[in-house]
């Protein structure tokens, strides 16, 4: 599992990857009540908007951790967007993606490095 400085994570699941937002991000946003993501088949460059999370208070975009193609949206989030609050780094995954540029994964933080990064915020 790798993390970005903007608090997304990406995790290998078989031959695809799951993308979501970190526990830190969900604590910051609180009360997620709506999630949407770019349509299946769309290619998104690293750092570009991959979707939007809406808390009661505000809408926040989240970004592609690396260059990706969207494979599927986590349909469970349509009825239970709060999964992102309760289990952000497992059941609360947001999209399944194909990674288009694997070398970019090496530029991301591993869990320990992300934890260090959080302690600086």
């Amino acid at each position: 599992m790798k993390f970005t400085k903007s608090h997304e994570w990406i995790k290998e699941i078989g031959d695809v990857y799951h993308v979501g937002v970190s526990n830190y991000a969900q604590e910051h946003l609180s009360d997620i009540v709506y999630v949407e993501a770019e349509a299946e088949g769309n290619s998104i460059d690293k750092g570009e908007r991959i979707g939007t999370l809406e808390s009661v208070k505000a809408a926040e975009d989240f970004a592609a951790p690396v260059d990706v193609e969207i494979v599927a949206f986590n349909d469970a989030l349509a009825d239970q967007p709060e999964l992102i609050n309760t289990d952000p780094e497992n059941e609360g995954w947001i999209v399944t993606v194909k990674v288009l540029n694997e070398t970019q994964l090496d530029e991301l933080m591993d869990e320990a490095a992300y934890k260090d990064f959080l302690s600086t915020l």
Binding site: S30, D31, Y34, E54, V56, A58, A59
Partner: protein, 368 residues
């Protein structure tokens, strides 16, 4: 970052885990736990709010009533002493300078409670307009702290802190009471949530003691501190106006559906436009709508009917108690009726919505 003001309760909020954000020039708690949880607590039990950022002006003098009757759209001359009215205050063009509460102590003393974001603008306006009247206008905002307790159990909890019978304070009435802790405060049966409850005005130096004593009195009832996030979702479910969203300097009380807070049998600043709009009907009007497709409408999003842009969203949210995606907005007159299908443009996609009856949540006021 500009210098943000802090309420006298700032340190308590930090100790209680308040998430502090800038709001209208103040550092205010947006939430303590979660907005949803705090919202539900106020609807089903009770919550305590620090609203010390609000502004208070005192109008003194023999012509206090005469002046305020001209200044605001609603009538203070017809109010009894120790009664309150809600009112827009208009500019010369009939747009809204602010919306406020007017507390009538007697014929020569009225307190106006105004929005934090407008204190300076309002004070300049009120002073300017007072020139021809035998009154003195004082901005007492920094000297007053304000705490609100709201919810079905608000009276029961607050009653533990004061000997005087709170049941005798009617809806939109107030008293000056001395609490068991010795603090004297203005207590009104008012609020901004759609629930029964009280707003308490006291000297800033007394705020911390008052807050702690009310929290202690509410301990057995699970009284929660509530942030501005839930204050906004609560007022939105009850269709209470937020200045800067539903109201601004260009919008009129008639457009906003506030004709009920206007007395056209007296003169007031902005009356010409009000009369014109009552006669000819305003071109746009404030409506409530419910999303039919899941999505959250937000302030500033465009409203469409087919290909035609017919209005703009002023506020929107996921409503935590009603569990619906709701919004308020201005639409052209021909699209105002209940049941009208509209679409909200959200991040480039049009999402279906329908105009519904408001308020979304029936206010639970305790009226005599």
């Amino acid at each position: 970052m500009e210098d943000l003001k802090r309420t006298p309760l700032h340190d308590i909020h930090k100790r209680n885990g308040g998430h502090i954000v800038p709001f209208a020039g103040w550092e205010m708690p947006v939430r303590f736990s979660s907005i949803k949880e705090e919202h539900i607590a106020v609807r089903t039990n009770a919550g305590l709010f620090d609203i010390s950022h609000m502004g208070e002006f005192i109008i003194h003098g023999p012509e206090a009533v005469k002046f305020v009757d001209m200044l605001i759209t609603n009538s203070v001359s017809s109010l009894e002493n120790y009664h309150i009215c809600y009112s827009p205050m208009c500019n010369d063009k009939g747009g809204i300078v602010d919306d406020l509460l007017a507390y009538k102590f007697n014929e020569s003393k009225i307190m106006l409670v105004v929005n934090a974001s407008n204190i300076e603008k309002d004070f300049d306006w009120v002073v300017k307009k007072s020139a021809d009247y035998d009154v003195a206008v004082e901005n007492e905002s920094v000297n007053f702290a304000q705490i609100a307790i709201q919810g079905p159990n608000a009276e029961k909890i607050l009653q533990k802190t004061v000997a005087s019978e709170l049941g005798k304070i009617g809806f939109f009435h107030f008293r000056e009471l001395t609490f068991n802790n010795g603090i004297t405060a203005i207590v009104s049966r008012t609020g901004y949530t759609g629930e029964d409850g009280f707003e308490i005005y006291m000297a800033s130096a007394s705020a911390e003691k008052m807050w702690l004593d009310i929290m202690e009195a509410g301990k057995d009832s699970a009284l929660l501190p509530i942030g501005l996030g839930a204050r906004n979702t609560l007022r939105l479910e009850a269709k209470l106006m937020l200045y800067g969203n539903e109201l601004d300097d260009a919008i009129s009380p008639v457009e906003a559906g506030l004709k009920w807070a206007m007395d056209i049998n007296k003169d007031f600043i902005g009356k010409d436009r009000a009369l014109r709009e009552i006669e000819n009907k305003p071109a746009r009007t404030l409506v409530g709508f419910e999303m039919e497709e899941r999505a959250i409408p937000r302030h500033g999003y465009a409203i469409f009917a087919g290909d035609e842009e017919v209005g703009i969203v002023t506020s929107g949210t996921f409503a935590p108690f009603l569990e619906k995606y709701l919004g308020l907005g201005y639409v052209s007159r021909s699209h105002r009726k209940r049941g009208t299908q509209i679409e909200i443009s959200i991040r480039g996609k049009n999402k279906k919505a329908v105009i519904v009856k408001t308020p979304f949540y029936k206010k639970q006021y305790k009226k005599n």
